[in-house]
């Protein structure tokens, strides 16, 4: 068990190295002069020089990478180029809680939707309910996130004014109630996509589990249906779900860019996009790096957790 | 070579014609130019209809698939044919057909066959010479009659005694209790069979027995063979 953890962590190092190299080289791959790209063609010569110096373009590439890496490892991702100028870390640190809250809310909603749906569909496999749910989840998977966001906005916000739009209220600033009102729609958009996938997976796993002999034995002993579904069948079927939800967390933290744009949320994705549009490279670099590292870390955690939770692996590995 | 699972031995995406003629494609000099003729000839020899050439493996039964495998193996006119448990996966009635086919091929193409099997009845039927092996080492070599009537190695005797006797009135041979076979990754020192052998002594753990003759054409690798060296054959 310990060996697997070690191997997995060790394999991360080349991955992290390549990711850092990639994000670092992103700036180099931009065609044309960096200063012109950032500031436009009408800035002064001094400004171009400043930008070039700030990005270290007057030094050889290995030295640049070395100093960039040493700063990054210490948590210093530099400053951004386009005003308002502040450290990249501060910008990202301000944006991260938004992503975190969205991810947690979306995951909770996804579970709340998918688990009962999947359980009942599996129990009544082949029924009209089941076929309807199958069609609905299949349809939901086929809807791109921005379209889903638009539809939800259309129905819930524009015409029925249930939920407000357009900003984000930090719980520290305006309290949790307001925050949740703003968070509901984006979280729901994300949750629906994940819920569709969860439902399909859990349903097929549960159908397989429900055919096992011990379920038949439980019925023969007279156990009530809900007890069988919730206690006996759910736990063994949930391994794939747990893995998938772990990957979902990673996806929810890293891939919410579209939803952030539609709902104008100040999350990390928005930061990166706005920076990309303004050619603010240090911010793009820092943002992509942080998102990638968080994604990798979450996946690693899920990987290890899965190994720990599955008693077969635990018993054999130790 | 022909293998145990006839269906998985055939590429599901190829037609029979391509499967059987593969050897001829790899070695075009051996084909002698007439690939189609050779193909028809070999399909006839193994008892498949000419129309089989254009069909896919999933359209055939297990026995027919094994015939296709035999055709593929023989199309290059080999001198040696290695058969890795070719009938174990087949129905008993089909087993007989395939064994007869192999006999026929042996005669027709002057083949030497290395036939690997677990079923003692099959072995006795098919072989001119039987080699008994245990955990990768040769235990005994003999003609089928000699082996079955007078086994010299304790393992051979154990195998023969394990054959179930269908006649309930016949007395059952006593099978000495021997336990589980050891792991092939860590075989016992000296003679590998010693952990299950009723006649084992300290010498068996120290010194690995060499293959020696115990009769004409009868060899055994045991320190204490069941009948003495140089006895009547």
């Amino acid at each position: 068990m310990r060996r697997t953890i070690l191997t997995k962590v060790l394999l991360l190092i080349p991955v992290l190295f390549l990711v850092s190299l990639g994000t670092f080289l992103m700036v180099d791959l931009v065609p044309g002069d960096i200063g012109v790209q950032v500031l436009g063609p009408n800035a002064s010569v001094d400004d171009y020089a400043r930008v070039n110096r700030q990005l270290g373009f007057n030094k050889p590439i290995l030295e640049r990478y070395g100093s960039w890496l040493s700063h990054t490892v210490r948590g210093d991702l530099g400053k951004n180029l386009v005003p308002p100028i502040e450290t990249v870390t501060t910008r990202l640190a301000r944006a991260f809680p938004v992503n975190l809250e969205l991810a947690v809310l979306a995951l909770a909603m996804a579970f709340a939707i998918s688990v009962p749906l999947a359980m009942w569909s599996a129990y009544r496999a082949g029924s009209r309910f089941d076929r309807f749910v199958s069609a609905a989840t299949f349809g939901t998977i086929s809807v791109p996130s921005f379209l889903a966001a638009l539809l939800l906005v259309l129905v819930l916000a524009v015409n029925w004014h249930i939920f407000p739009l357009g900003q984000w209220a930090r719980p520290t600033a305006k309290g949790w109630a307001t925050n949740l009102r703003f968070a509901f729609l984006p979280a729901l958009t994300l949750a629906l996509q994940e819920a569709a996938v969860f439902t399909r997976l859990l349903r097929s796993d549960m159908i397989a589990t429900l055919q096992e002999d011990y379920i038949l034995a439980a019925r023969a002993k007279g156990m009530p249906t809900w007890h069988i579904l919730a206690r006996e069948a759910l736990r063994p079927s949930s391994f794939s779900l747990i893995t998938l939800s772990g990957l979902s967390v990673g996806r929810l933290i890293g891939g919410t860019i579209i939803v952030e744009q539609v709902f104008s949320l100040p999350g990390m994705g928005s930061v990166v996009i706005n920076a990309a549009q303004k050619n603010d490279y240090p911010l793009v670099q820092g943002g992509v790096l942080v998102i990638a590292v968080v994604y990798i870390a979450v996946n690693l955690f899920v990987d290890l957790m899965y190994g720990y939770l599955d008693p077969r692996i635990r018993r054999v590995g130790v | 070579m022909i293998f145990q699972d006839p269906i998985s031995s055939l590429n599901p995406r190829q037609r029979v014609r391509q499967i059987v003629a593969e050897g001829l494609e790899i070695w075009p000099d051996l084909a002698g130019g007439d690939v189609a003729g050779r193909l028809a000839e070999i399909l006839d020899a193994v008892g498949l209809p000419r129309s089989a050439a254009d069909r896919r493996p999933y359209e055939f039964s297990g026995g027919q698939c094994q015939r296709i495998c035999i055709a593929r193996a023989l199309v290059l006119d080999p001198t040696v044919l290695i058969c890795d448990e070719p009938v174990s996966a087949l129905d008993v009635s089909v087993q007989a057909q395939i064994l007869n086919l192999l006999e026929e091929m042996k005669a027709r193409y002057a083949l030497s066959m290395l036939f690997i099997a677990h079923d003692l009845a099959v072995v006795k039927n098919v072989s001119d010479r039987v080699i008994v092996m245990y955990l990768g080492k040769i235990c005994e070599v003999a003609s089928p009659d000699d082996l079955y009537r007078r086994p010299a190695h304790p393992y051979t005797r154990m195998l023969l005694e394990s054959i179930p006797e269908p006649d309930p009135t016949q007395a059952r041979a006593s099978v000495t209790e021997t336990g589980e076979p050891p792991s092939p990754l860590a075989p016992p020192s000296g003679c590998r069979f010693r952990t299950r052998c009723p006649s084992a002594v300290e010498r068996c753990a120290v010194e690995e027995p060499m293959v020696r003759a115990v009769g004409s054409g009868h060899f055994v690798a045991c320190h204490f063979p069941l009948h003495a060296v140089g006895g009547p054959s």
Binding site: L11, P14, V15, L18, V19, M26, V30, P31, F138, G139, I141, S142, V143, P144, F146, L147, L150, L151, V153, L154, V158, N159, G166, R200, L201, S204, D205, S240, G250, R251, G254, G255, I257, I258, Q261, V272, A276, Q277, V284, V288, I291, A292, Y295, I296 | M1, F3, S8, S9, L10, N11, P12, R13, Q14, E22, G23, I26, W27, R72, A73, L76
Partner: protein, 362 residues
């Protein structure tokens, strides 16, 4: 009553009668659904009645579902109960769309790009099936139906280009890694893990930011297609490698080697046909994902710019104020995109059931 008569009276109708009865019931249902469907779609998509936009949208939805059910009942009545209506309708949509995309130049469509030509046309027209602009116009008076079809060219061509590149490169690398194993496999593994470690959209955005915004359709196909291929190749490599591993252990490979075949022959003749089949069935689903990804890029403003239409940037026209008044402007391209992605998924699901029975969970 004699026993024989009793038995005869209890006999149920012979099977042909029963089948005929259910067929008739199906056809009756079909007529009912057809009526509901036509009425609903007419209500939603024409200017016959002045109904609020919000009522129209679900009405059209209900109408389309009813029409689908009508087709389903008719098809099952004619071809039997095992007819897979969803699959065939998806296939028909795709064929129709691809035909429309190829023939767009010769079809009698409205103006899709040059707003100078549409000064006389009123803008923000609602869909009206019997007018000159069946699906309405946008803010610049450009015909939505025609824009949606021209936009499909970009999406379909980009996705197709990306899939072909992904499959060619991915299968080659995956098969080599899976067959030769060793250090090649490890290096390939690290590279794919790295690429998969970054969330796909972030990677796409980064690549798009480097390559810059495309200005013409062919440029978009190559640039966006290339970016999508880079993101898609690791998945294909993993698939190809897994399938290669599975098939390389099969006995027909050993038999081939025993006959004297060399590695190249085994890779091409024995393994490739077997590995390609599940990958091709996966290709449809990959296309669906790529269309969504390309749409996301366009929605974020990183794809082709207006007035060149892509589904993504057409949906992006649906800002808050537009949504309130003219929901059809983003919903028409949305519907096109949804139907296309759904159809690719549906066809791919069926292809996968036939050719890759191992992975049919999701």
């Amino acid at each position: 009553m004699s026993e024989l008569a009793l038995v005869e009276s209890l006999e149920t109708a012979p099977p042909e009668h029963r089948a005929g009865r259910s067929r008739r019931a199906g056809l009756l249902q079909a007529v009912g659904f057809l009526a509901v469907g036509v009425a609903a779609v007419a209500l939603g998509l024409t200017e016959m009645t002045h109904v609020a936009g919000l009522i129209k949208v679900p009405t059209v939805l209900v109408g389309l579902v009813a029409l689908y059910l009508a087709c389903d009942r008719v098809a099952k009545a004619v071809w039997g109960a095992s007819f897979d209506t969803g699959f065939w309708m998806s296939l028909s949509w795709l064929v129709l769309l691809i035909a429309a995309a190829i023939l767009a130049g010769v079809l009698p469509l409205g103006e899709y790009k040059n707003s100078a030509k549409t000064i006389g046309t009123p803008g923000n027209l609602r869909p009206d099936l019997f007018s000159r602009h069946p699906l309405g116009t946008n803010n610049f008076s450009l015909d939505l139906l025609s824009r949606a079809i021209y936009a499909s060219r970009v999406s379909l061509a980009t996705a197709l280009f990306a899939v072909v590149v992904s499959v060619v490169i991915g299968v080659t690398i995956g098969m080599v890694a899976g067959y030769y194993r060793g250090w090649v496999d490890t290096v390939v593994g690290v590279c794919t893990d790295t690429t998969l470690a970054i969330p796909a959209l972030v990677l796409l955005i980064a690549i798009a930011a480097i390559l810059g915004v495309p200005k013409t359709v062919p440029e978009a196909i190559v640039k966006e297609g290339g970016a999508l291929a880079i993101v898609g190749i690791p998945t294909v490599i993993r698939l190809a490698r897994a399938n290669t591993l599975a098939f390389a252990g099969r006995e027909f490979v050993v038999a081939s080697r025993a006959l004297g075949a060399r590695s190249r022959r085994i890779l091409f003749k024995q393994l490739l046909p077997n590995v390609m089949l599940p990958i091709i069935s996966y290709a449809f689903i990959i296309i669906a994902v790529l269309i969504v990804a390309e749409g996301s890029l366009a929605f974020l403003g990183l794809g082709l710019q207006q007035p060149q239409p892509t589904w993504g940037n057409m949906i992006a026209e649906g800002t808050l104020s537009v949504l309130r008044q003219y929901p059809h402007i983003p919903l028409v391209p949305g519907a096109f995109m949804f139907l296309t992605v759904f159809s690719f998924n549906r066809v791919g699901e069926r292809a996968r059931q036939r050719w890759d029975p191992r992975q049919s969970k999701m």
